[in-house]
C-alpha cells in the first residue's frame, strides 16, 4: 500500500455513508454535546463523543467490541445539536453496517440478529411480520424478559392487535427483481 493511500478505519466507515450530508468526522471538536444529549449514553460502553474520537484515532478493535452503536436508538438528538454538523446517527448506522458485513460484534448483542431477521422478512414478503421476528431475540432474553414478552403477546392477541397471517405484497416478483438490481441477495433469499 502506498504512503499516500492509507485506508484508515475512519475512511472505511465514511465510505459506508451514501447520502448523509454531514461534515467529515475529523471535524469533531470533542465538545460532548452529543453525549450530553444522548438518552442511552449511560448504558453505552463508550459515549458518542468517545466513539467519534476512537474512530478518528483508528481504534477499530475497541470500537467494534463496544455496544455503543448497537445501543443507538436513532433518535437524532445528537445530530440536530452537533455544532460541527456531523451526522452522528449516520455514523452509528455505518458502524452497524460494518459490524454486520464483517460479522463482528460484541458478544451478547441482540441487535445484529434482530436487524437481519427484520431485513430478510422484508426481502421475502415486502412487509414486516412481528411474530416471525421473535426467534431472533427471544432465546437471548432472561427469564423475566421472556415472560414479559409472552404476557404482552397474549394481551395484544386478546385485543386483536397481533397479526396472525404474514402479509405479503401483490407484485412480489417485481419487488424481488427490484432488490436484485440494488444488491446481490446472497443468503437472504
Amino acid at each position: 500500500m502506498s504512503e499516500t493511500y492509507t485506508f484508515t478505519f475512519m475512511k472505511e466507515v465514511s465510505s459506508l455513508l451514501h447520502a448523509a450530508d454531514g461534515n467529515p468526522f475529523p471535524m469533531c471538536v470533542q465538545c460532548g454535546t452529543c453525549s450530553g444529549s444522548c438518552p442511552v449514553a449511560a448504558y453505552m460502553d463508550y459515549t458518542p463523543r468517545q466513539i467519534i474520537a476512537m474512530v478518528n484515532a483508528g481504534l477499530k478493535d475497541q470500537v467494534m467490541e463496544s455496544n455503543t452503536f448497537w445501543y443507538c436508538a436513532s433518535c437524532y438528538q445528537c445530530t440536530v445539536r452537533c455544532p460541527q454538523d456531523i451526522s452522528i446517527t449516520e455514523l452509528m448506522y455505518a458502524l452497524q453496517r460494518y459490524s454486520i458485513w464483517k460479522n463482528r460484534y460484541k458478544e451478547g448483542m441482540i441487535g445484529p440478529a434482530f436487524s437481519e431477521a427484520f431485513a430478510k422478512t422484508i426481502v421475502r414478503t415486502g412487509r414486516t411480520f412481528e411474530p416471525i421476528l421473535a426467534p431472533s431475540y427471544i432465546f437471548s432474553f432472561k427469564m423475566r424478559e421472556f415472560f414479559q414478552e409472552i404476557q404482552n403477546a397474549t394481551e395484544l392477541m386478546l385485543k386483536g392487535r397481533l397479526p396472525i397471517l404474514p402479509p405479503r405484497i401483490k407484485r412480489l416478483d417485481n419487488f424481488k427483481r427490484m432488490i436484485r438490481r440494488i444488491l446481490p441477495m446472497g443468503g437472504a433469499e
Partner: protein
C-alpha cells in the same frame, strides 16, 4: 377539499389498528380525503439502515413512486416511515446519481420517482395543513378538563427537515387545545421512547420509558397522546415491565392523537378503536 395519498405502514395493519381506524374516521369528519397507496411495501424502518443504505432508500422510493402516480402529496402516520420517506425524497432530488440508480431498480416494477411528491406526517397534516381553527370549528364534544401530555418523540422532528423548530415545537399543544383538552408542559416531550431498543437493549429502553412516564405524571398528565405506533407500544405495552423493574405503579393511558380528535369531533369510541388499549382509558374518559 384536501386530498392526500396515504401510506399507513406495517404497524397500522394490526398492532396499531386503532391509529388506522381513528385516522380514517377523523379525516372523513374533517373533509380530508385519504387515498391509500396500492400495494405498498414496508419502509424498512430503522433496521434496514443497519444492513444497506441504498436498499433502504429503494424500499421507500417504491412507495414514493406509487404515491407520485396519484399526483397527491403523501401523508404517513408513523414517524419512522415519515422520516424515511422525507429523506429518501430529499436525497433523490439533490443527488441525480442516487436517483438514477434507484430508478433503474424501480423499473422492475414499472415505477419511477421524479422527486416531486411532498411528504407530510399525519400530525403535521392535521395540526398545520388543516389547522387548529378549522378543527376547533368542528368540535362537538370538547375534551374539557382532560390533561394530556403531547408526546412528539423523535423522528417526526429529527433530523431537522428544514429550518423548523426542533427544541420546543408547539403544534401538538395547539392541536390539543383546539379539541378542548389541556396540554401539559413537561421536559421530555421530545425525548426518545427507546424505539427498537426494547428488543435489543431492554433495560436501557425500560428506563427511558420510565423517565418519560414519570415526567408526564409529575406534571399532572391524565394521559399521553402519541403520533407514532412505536412510541405507543413502548409506552403502553411495557408499562407493566417498567412497574416490575422499578417498583413503580404507572397506569397511564397512551392514546393516539387521532383517537382524541375523533372523540372531540363526536365520533363513537368503538369506531376510534378505544377499548383496544392495554391500559384502559375509560377512567379518564368517563369524566367527560
Amino acid at each position: 377539499m384536501k386530498e392526500f395519498a396515504y401510506f399507513p405502514g406495517c404497524s397500522l395493519e394490526k398492532l396499531a389498528i386503532s391509529y388506522h381506524t381513528s385516522t380514517l374516521e377523523t379525516s372523513k369528519k374533517l373533509g380530508v380525503k385519504l387515498q391509500e397507496l396500492e400495494d405498498w411495501n414496508c419502509c424498512g424502518s430503522t433496521t434496514y439502515f443497519h444492513i444497506d443504505e441504498l436498499l433502504a432508500y429503494t424500499l421507500t422510493a417504491r412507495n414514493l413512486a406509487i404515491a407520485e402516480k396519484t399526483g397527491l402529496d403523501v401523508v404517513a402516520p408513523c414517524s419512522a416511515c415519515f422520516k424515511n420517506m422525507f429523506f429518501t425524497a430529499a436525497h433523490m432530488k439533490e443527488d441525480p446519481d442516487l436517483a438514477e440508480h434507484i430508478n433503474f431498480a424501480l423499473e422492475e416494477d414499472g415505477l419511477n420517482f421524479s422527486g416531486n411528491t411532498k411528504v407530510r406526517h399525519l400530525l403535521e397534516m392535521f395540526a398545520q395543513d388543516v389547522g387548529p381553527d378549522e378543527i376547533r370549528s368542528k368540535v362537538t364534544r370538547p375534551l374539557e378538563g382532560v390533561k394530556v401530555a403531547p408526546y412528539y418523540g423523535c423522528q417526526i422532528l429529527r433530523p431537522r427537515k428544514d429550518h423548523e423548530e426542533v427544541e420546543n415545537p408547539r403544534y401538538f399543544e395547539d392541536l390539543l387545545s383546539a379539541i378542548g383538552a389541556t396540554p401539559i408542559e413537561y421536559a421530555l416531550k421530545m425525548r426518545c421512547c427507546g424505539g427498537s431498543l426494547i428488543i435489543s437493549s431492554r433495560i436501557a429502553a425500560l428506563s427511558m420509558v420510565r423517565n418519560l412516564l414519570q415526567c408526564a405524571v409529575d406534571q399532572g398528565a391524565d394521559m399521553i397522546a402519541t403520533a407514532c405506533p412505536m412510541c405507543q407500544v413502548n409506552l403502553e405495552c411495557y408499562q407493566q415491565s417498567v412497574n416490575q423493574e422499578f417498583g413503580t405503579q404507572f397506569a397511564v393511558p397512551i392514546l393516539y392523537f387521532t383517537q382524541l380528535m375523533g372523540l372531540a369531533l363526536g365520533i363513537p369510541k368503538k369506531k376510534l378503536g378505544i377499548g383496544k388499549e392495554l391500559v384502559s382509558a375509560s377512567p379518564v374518559l368517563a369524566a367527560l
